[in-house]
Amino acid sequence: MASVAGGGLVLEITQPEIDVTALVETYSRLLFRVAHSVLRSQAEAEDVVQDVFVRVIERRQSLHAIHDMRVWLVRIAWNLALDRRRRIRPVQMDESFSESLAANTVPADEKLSEAERMKVVLREMERLPKAERHVLLLSAVEELDTAEMAKVVGRSESAVRALLFRARTRLRERLEARGGER
């Protein structure tokens, strides 16, 4: 049963009680970055975070059985973001994200070419094999270490490290090949 008491939302389950407000305050920004690495949209990522905590409410009966709440929440956010990514148009998201990225990093006169360069990187990232792409995207979230990444994608830590190495190498080679064609 969920109840609002003293401005905080508490899930009254047998033992121990789960303070949803504390969960939101602790993990919402991490979950937002996880979702944003996949979706590249603030609004969509925020919706995913909200969906994650709705799931928490729905699964309140089995929350006490979860050992690592942080990884569990990240995993939910990751899966929900991947699911949402299939339904939205990623090209539009990448375009606006690359423009915002260029605006933050370069002077105004170089903004267009820099935005185009960021867009090319994002496009090549999407062309990577799925496992490599997922590990590379998770590696962008600095709060997650290799062990947590391994739990999220369901692989061993060594496999995650190998995938990450291959992803960066393949991405760099492809970008250089594109640069050489120009």
Binding site: F32, H36, S37, S100, G179
Partner: protein
């Protein structure tokens, strides 16, 4: 090479450093509280089990009914034949033909000899026999008087009668006979006048 690495690093840093809009936690909490305050419409597990059992029972009942009906339809004719084979005496008169049905379908009921034959009444037997009798043309009905006359005229070929059947010929004949009659009257009138003159 450095250029590509730098671009990759920028993109990854941009992805990792994304910041949510201010007040995200407050909005999320408000949405969750709103959802928590709504009455729960969750259906208990036992209700799902009961519903599932009901659906399974309904499906079974439907399947049994369908199979039962499917078996009954082709064996209805067989039911009437079976007593004829076992009956004696007057029942023989009510027997149906030994090949009652020439069906293209495989009769399922034949493979079920356990089905008991039921005696049929004489009225039903007649009806069934008529129903299963091969089709024949209708029996000849007696000819009417007109049909008999017509048949006789056609078969004898009497020219006078045949002519009477044709309105044109009949009208011509009547005209000719009338003309002959008038001619006869006129001739007879002249002869009477001449004989009167001679006698005078």
């Amino acid at each position: 090479m450095n250029n590509s690495e730098e671009a990759i690093g920028k993109v990854l840093a941009g992805l990792g450093g994304a910041e949510a809009s201010p007040g995200m936690e407050r909005r999320i909490l408000a949405a969750i509280e709103e959802r928590a305050s709504q009455p729960s419409v969750a259906i208990p597990r036992w209700a799902w089990s009961v519903a599932l059992a009901g659906v399974v029972a309904a499906c079974l009942l439907f399947a049994i009914t369908a199979i039962h009906q499917h078996e009954q339809i082709p064996t209805q004719a067989q039911q009437h034949v079976l007593p004829a084979k076992s009956a004696e005496g007057t029942q023989e008169a009510l027997l149906l033909p030994q090949k009652p049905i020439t069906s293209t379908r495989t009769p399922i009921g034949i493979a079920a000899p356990a089905r008991k034959a039921q005696p049929i009444s004489a009225e039903d037997a007649v009806l069934l026999r008529e129903m299963r009798a091969p089709s024949h043309p209708a029996p000849e009905a007696p000819l009417t008087q007109e049909e008999k006359l017509l048949l006789r005229a056609v078969h004898t070929g009497d020219p006078q009668v045949m002519a009477m059947l044709n309105p044109e010929v009949r009208a011509r004949q009547e005209a000719e006979s009338e003309a002959e009659f008038r001619k006869f009257i006129e001739q007879s009138g002249k002869e009477d006048h001449e004989s009167d003159q001679i006698t005078e």
